[in-house]
Structure formats: C-alpha cells, structure tokens
Point group: C2
C-alpha cells in the first residue's frame, strides 16, 4: 500500500460529487480511482471481483442504505477502508457507522485539504474525521442519544403514517387492526426514541433519515 498506488472507489449517487473527488484526487499520483458507482449494490458485486483499498461511501443511496453497505464491505473485505462521506451529522449515525467498522467520517462540505488528509490517514491505518464530526463525537453531549433505535417493520409503517398526518383511528383502519393496537405502537415509538410527543418523534426521525 505504500509503494503502489492506492486503489480508491467512490460510491455516491451524485455525479457531481464523483467528478469533484475525481478531479481532486487526480492531482495526486499516489491515488488511482479504479471505479465509481451511483448505486450500492453495483459496488458490492464489483467488490467481490476486485481489490479496493479505500471506499468513499455516501450513506444515503437510492437503492440501499450506506450503513448496511459498510457492514457488508467489512464482512467481505475487512482490509478495505471505508470513509463515510455525507451531509448527516447526527451523533447516532456517526456512532452507528463506527460500530459498523467505518474508518472515517467526513462531511460533504469538507474542504479538499480535509478530504485529502482524511484519505491519507485511513490509508495509514488511522481513523479520520471532519473537525465538526470530531467535536460531535468528543462532546460529552447533553444531547447524548443512544444508538439509533431499531424499529420493527410494523413500527416503521406506523411511523410513516403518523408523519403523513393520519390519526390513530385512520391508521388502525388502514392497517386493519384495533385503534388500541396503534396506540401501543405509538407509545413504543415514543419510548424507543425517548421523546415526549409526535412532534419530537417526527423531527428526530427526519434527522436520522428514517423518513423521506
């Protein structure tokens, strides 16, 4: 990895971002971009055939979620370094990515120096974070929120209907269950997210990227 060029792959659904990264990395001969993808699944099948040193990975992809992709990458090719590149700066998301084995977490509004330094760091076996991310991590955080709650299929379904403005009664009707059941799901949602009412629930769900 020290003499040869480092093989880098970009996975991002924004062609502009790919182009920007490519332009940036081209100027540095120690890197070579061997491929880029706008879909996570296409990348995964590529990874099965090719060696990759660093993956620069968008968390929010159209066809699948970057978090899971990260985990799969680490299962399939543990030596491949993963750098998350995203706009999301929710603490729980970051922690989850680290949990899943990410080597770095950079924000899309990072400067090219930051990006470059980040890639070099993970190649060196170190972790790498945007300044803003570092602050969020080290922050003892009054805002401490535990690892992104795992919702059941039904709960997610109910959550979306709540966000759509439907009342428990209507939701019950739509899902063909008792309104009391919906009330229970509702309560469990509030509990899992540790919030006090739907307003907060919807806000957090958005911040965590569970909705839209």
């Amino acid at each position: 990895m020290s003499v040869a060029q480092a093989k880098i792959v970009i996975v991002d659904d924004h062609p502009l971002i790919i182009q920007g990264l490519t332009a940036m990395l081209q100027e540095h001969s120690q890197f070579v971009i061997t491929a880029s993808f706008t879909r996570g699944l296409e990348f995964m099948s590529y990874l099965r055939e090719h060696a990759v040193d660093v993956v620069i990975l968008d968390i929010s992809l159209p066809d699948c979620n970057g978090m899971d992709i990260c985990k799969e990458i680490k299962a399939l090719a543990p030596q491949t370094r993963v750098i998350a590149l995203t706009n999301h700066n929710e603490r729980s998301l970051i922690m989850q990515m680290l949990q899943n084995g990410a080597n770095g977490y950079l924000l899309k509004n990072a400067s090219s120096e930051e990006l470059l330094a980040g890639i070099l760091q993970v190649l060196n076996g170190q972790l790498s974070f945007s300044k803003a991310i570092e602050e969020i991590i080290t922050q003892p955080t009054v805002y401490e929120r535990d690892p992104l709650p795992k919702l059941t299929r039904r709960e997610l379904e109910v959550l979306k209907l709540i966000a759509a403005g439907e009342t428990s009664l209507v939701i019950a009707d739509q899902l063909c269950v008792s309104p009391l059941t919906i009330e229970t799901h509702r309560r469990n949602l509030l509990q899992k997210f540790r919030v006090r009412n739907v307003a907060e629930l919807i806000k957090i769900s958005y911040q965590l990227g569970l909705l839209a």
Copy 2:
C-alpha cells in the same frame, strides 16, 4: 454572449460540488468560471462589481437562504441567469424559485450531460429543468401545495419549539406569553401549511428546509 466565453459563477457551500462543476465545465471552452463562493453574501458583493452571465446557486447556504439571494440577483442584475442547484425537490420550493426569477432548476444528482444541457439552455434564454423537476412541475398534482407559506418571526420561533417537543404550556412559559396565544400561533401554523396536526406540520417543515 455568443462569441465571448460565458462567465459562470458557482455559489455552493460544498467545495466538492464546486470542484465537480469546475472539472466538468473546464472541458468546454465556451464557458469560463470566473469565481466561486461558499457564502451567498460574499457573492452578492462580488456581483456588484462584476458582470456574470450565469450563477449556479445552491438554495441551502450557511449564511442565508438561496431563495432570497435569487430575488436579489434579479433585482441587481436582471440579465444574469440563475440556475438553482439543489437536493430539494418540493414543488413549492421550485415554484417559489421560479417566482423569484430563476431560469433553471437542476438537482444535485443530475448527470453531467443534464447539467451541461441546462447551462446551455439558460444561456439561450430558455428555462431549464431536471427531468424529475419537470415531472413535478407538470404533474397535475394531487399533491398541489401552494407557494411555501411565509411565516412570521414568532411563528417560526413557535414552530421550532413545537418540533423540540415542547407543549403549548411550556412554550408559553418560555416566551412569556399566554398559552392561549401559543394555541393561536399553532392554529395559524396548521392553517398556513394546510395540515391537520403537528406530525404533518413537522414533516412538511423538514421537507421545506425550515427546520435543521
């Protein structure tokens, strides 16, 4: 504008996007990128001193809102074409930008061909939209939602506290007014957004970028 190079300026808080656009446009000699900014206000003072043919403008900027910037550009330099470049695809946002005089509306996940074609179109005096945007516009819209409601300062303040999960009583306390007043603001918010309850309110506010 036909013989000379078209002067293009990019305003986007993501260096990567700027780099991507720059790389893309460099290959075409009919364009020249004369400047790029990560802040709207800096750009505005630049515009007072320099001629610009096309501004590629991110709607969500750190220091100010791209919507207003668009209006100001059109007031200051009506011959300058404005292309909105953003991730938001809410109908009301698009309409608002058009209202404010934008010449084009492209999505950040657009392909380079789409971007290039878009710039050429607005230079020709035509309007230009991403395919997805065109669909949203022409859609007879079951989803019709009128121009992004204008909130008063107080309403926005209340909205944020609602999103934070505070009850009317607590909000009233915090703002040192009667709970009944908050109820009124609340009602006006629901009315302005044409929604039925806070869940929907918060969802839409997020989609419109009013929160976080």
